[in-house]
């Protein structure tokens, strides 16, 4: 099968409506996405229903993250201090290219020819793997979903279950081809066993690993990683050198804060009371785990988001993907339509901001503002509020562009505002509209086809023709009863 990897580089990806169109025609993918999100949503809902203090936990989680953001410099410095005291080395990367350089330099120092990786969306954000490969080093993904994507030359479509858009027969085909197992069946048990065997050798032999981090603990300089498969534990304990890449917003003040964050994360991400394995480690422990430990703290646009009053809540995100699972838009398109490693509702607000609003400007509009995401977000990010704020920024950027003066949407909005500014004008417009639309109105009183922007409506929906009398005209003319 000819396969083109989706473009998840926001600088060059197609706009959301353009990217969505071919995906909408992929009924297999839509079925896979709907099934996967239904399963996780149902599990999450069941656990949330049984948790009497769920709303209190959300409030606490949001408050902890707000405390972090308000004192981010202090907590980062404290983390650096404690991690270094425990034998770790902390690096600071202002942007993606610096992060790539720091990590590749560490790998070169280690004379690594290969590196095993735990799933980290942050490394996809900075496009790390191509940089590693360009340095002649082979990056091996060890998370099952990431392995499927790497071998299948595909891209992640979901923050927690990146291969959610792939079904079992597609996995079978990829593994059979890349692992040299022509007799492989599509039984998920068999496929998983094949991956286990394939990766075991790597875990025991590759001395360098790269991870992300779910939480950095300022109080102790510890790092926490949450996972299900055990590849994390393998990569965190077997190699000689470990590099953890983390966005600066991942820091938490205290070890104790995990009592809130772990409770909301597992339930939101996978619908479990606790994920199978959570690992916590501090710097270097002689005799247990890597001898050399590096943390790369990544800014890459986060400090800019911090400075914006409405948008900064974006940085509370703990990458649980509950918003993706509940989003009715994501349900129809999956993640690739968002042209970024971060898709769904969080992607719609995070990606344009990381791009300093220079790219991905269609993403804030990739939402019907239904607020289902806000309802499930464990750290109470009011995503619709941020979407509307970003839309205003896009419009303010665009409004003065020559190209927009004749754009029907921009023109229409200006005209509508003019008409809404006075009741007289509005009545006039209502009359004009009724007369104008008469041309398009069928004998049954309905409109089946409209030109220009209207065609976007009538492509799938009829529109009832404008009634002969508006409400206000009826009110003005009706016989007055005693009031």
């Amino acid at each position: 099968m000819t396969h083109v990897a989706p473009n998840l580089d926001p600088r060059t990806a197609a706009t959301f409506p353009q990217a969505a169109l071919p995906i909408l025609r992929n009924t297999q993918l839509r079925k896979n996405v709907a099934h996967a999100t239904d399963v996780i949503q149902a599990k999450r809902a069941k656990l949330v229903a049984e948790k009497a203090d769920w709303q209190a936990l959300r409030t606490a989680a949001a408050a902890i993250k707000d405390d972090v953001l308000a004192n981010l410099d202090a907590y980062l410095e404290q983390f650096e201090d404690r991690c270094t005291a425990a034998g770790g080395t902390v690096h600071w990367a202002a942007d993606a290219s610096e992060a790539r350089r720091i990590i590749v330099d560490i790998l070169r120092e280690e004379q690594a020819s290969e590196v095993i990786k735990i799933k980290t969306m942050t490394s996809a954000e900075i496009q790390l793997n191509p940089a590693i490969e360009a340095a002649g080093i082979h990056a091996i993904e060890t998370d099952l979903a990431e392995l499927i994507l790497q071998l299948g030359e595909d891209e992640p479509s979901h923050i927690v279950a990146p291969a959610l858009h792939v079904n079992r027969s597609q996995v079978r085909e990829i593994f059979a081809r890349c692992m040299g197992l022509p007799d492989l069946t599509d039984d998920p048990q068999i496929l998983t066993a094949a991956a286990r065997t394939y990766l075991r050798k790597q875990f025991l032999s590759v001395p360098t690993a790269i991870s992300g981090a779910n939480f950095l603990i300022a109080e102790t300089g510890s790092v926490a990683i949450v996972e299900s498969e055990g590849n994390g534990r393998m990569c965190l304990t077997l190699p000689r050198t470990l590099v953890a890449l983390a966005g600066i917003e991942k820091v938490l003040p205290r070890f104790r804060d995990l009592e809130v964050m772990l409770q909301v994360l597992a339930r939101s991400a996978t619908g479990e009371r606790m994920n199978p394995y959570t690992s916590l480690w501090t710097g270097v422990t002689p005799g247990d785990g890597p001898e050399r430990f590096h943390v790369v703290l990544l800014d890459n646009g986060r400090s800019a988001i911090l400075g914006r009053k409405v948008e900064r809540q974006t940085l509370r995100c703990i990458r649980c993907a509950a918003c993706q699972n509940t989003c009715p838009v994501y349900r129809q398109t999956g993640g690739h339509a968002y042209g970024s490693v971060y898709g769904g509702p969080i992607g719609a607000i995070l990606t344009p901001q990381l791009m300093q609003m220079q790219h991905a400007q269609s993403l804030p509009y990739a939402s019907s503002l239904c607020a289902a995401c806000y309802e499930v977000c464990p750290v109470k990010i009011n995503i619709p509020e941020v979407l509307i704020e970003l839309r205003a920024q896009v419009v303010d950027q665009e409004r003065n562009h020559g190209a927009r003066i004749f754009d029907p949407m921009y023109l229409g909005m200006r005209i509508a505002n003019f008409l809404f500014a006075s009741a007289g004008r509005f009545r006039f417009a209502q009359r004009l509209g009724r007369i104008g639309l008469r041309f398009f109105t069928g004998k049954d009183g309905w409109i089946h086809s409209l030109p220009s922007l209207g065609a976007r409506w009538t492509m799938t929906r009829d529109l009832r023709g404008l009634p002969d009398q508006t409400f206000r005209d009826w009110w003005a003319k009706r016989p007055k009863e005693g009031q």
């Binding site: 981010l72 202090a74 690992s279």
Partner: protein
């Protein structure tokens, strides 16, 4: 100017005292640290979630066992006097021969008739060739069915409970708490290393079908031991 100072400067520009009106939350008054933060947490943070459990000891044990069994863990309960025999029985029932054990494991737990590999600097290959591993634990959390290891010398290095396919964990009743916050209450100081195990490794990456045992032990066994000394507390 290093990236470090660049990043910190950018952050301070919007959160520092000079940045009034940027609308930060009340927790801005959290102490700018040079010394330790209060470990219990910022005094103003809303903590109205459930901290303490409400179950009796026996209900708590029952809950943990139920959760462990939901994960297909094999759970046995015994008294302290029967522990050594119980361990031997479980090891025999496994059909396995070579077991890894942390160096500080009580000697009486090392049942005769098995090939014990005490972890005095075993190599990765040696651990990989063990059929199973036996350790103690630091705590268990009933609500989520979580076993907590702080990797003391009775619990072993992290890789010890990772490579072998069969794992037996010995838990004292007194180590079992109901809620996650109660576990944190037990930590007089934060551990340098910790592993929280809530079931065998699993993946749902292929069509959301939950498959047990990707990496990490596929077979989880737990013995819950009633301490003789604890028996007077059983009616709590």
């Amino acid at each position: 100017m290093t990236s470090r100072s660049q990043i910190l400067d950018r952050i301070r520009a919007v959160t520092g005292p000079a940045s009034k009106g940027t609308g930060f939350s009340p927790y801005k008054t959290s102490p700018r640290i040079s010394g330790a933060l209060a470990p219990e947490g910022h005094p103003d943070l809303p903590r109205t979630y459930i901290r303490n459990g409400s179950l009796t000891t026996s209900a708590r044990i029952a809950l943990l066992i139920e959760r462990l069994r939901e994960y297909d863990a094999d759970v046995t309960v015994c008294t302290a006097t029967d522990l050594d025999a119980c361990i031997a029985h479980r090891l025999r029932a496994s059909g396995r021969l070579t077991f890894a054990a942390p160096p500080g494991l009580p000697a009486s737990w090392l049942a005769p008739g098995f090939d014990w590999k005490l972890d005095n600097d075993l190599s990765h290959e040696q651990i990989e060739h063990c059929d199973g591993v036996v350790t103690a634990a630091f705590a268990a959390i009933a609500d989520s069915g979580t076993i907590v290891l702080h990797h003391s010398d009775r619990e072993g290095r992290r890789i010890l409970t990772l490579l072998p396919d069969w794992y037996l964990c010995i838990l004292r009743v007194g180590q079992i708490v109901e809620t996650l916050p109660e576990y944190f209450d037990r930590c007089s100081q934060p551990p340098a290393l910790a592993t929280y195990i809530s079931g065998p490794s699993a993946t749902a990456d292929i069509e959301m079908t939950r498959i047990k045992g990707v990496h990490g032990p596929r077979f989880l066994n737990v013995i819950v031991v009633h301490d003789e000394a604890q028996s007077s507390f059983e009616n709590n």
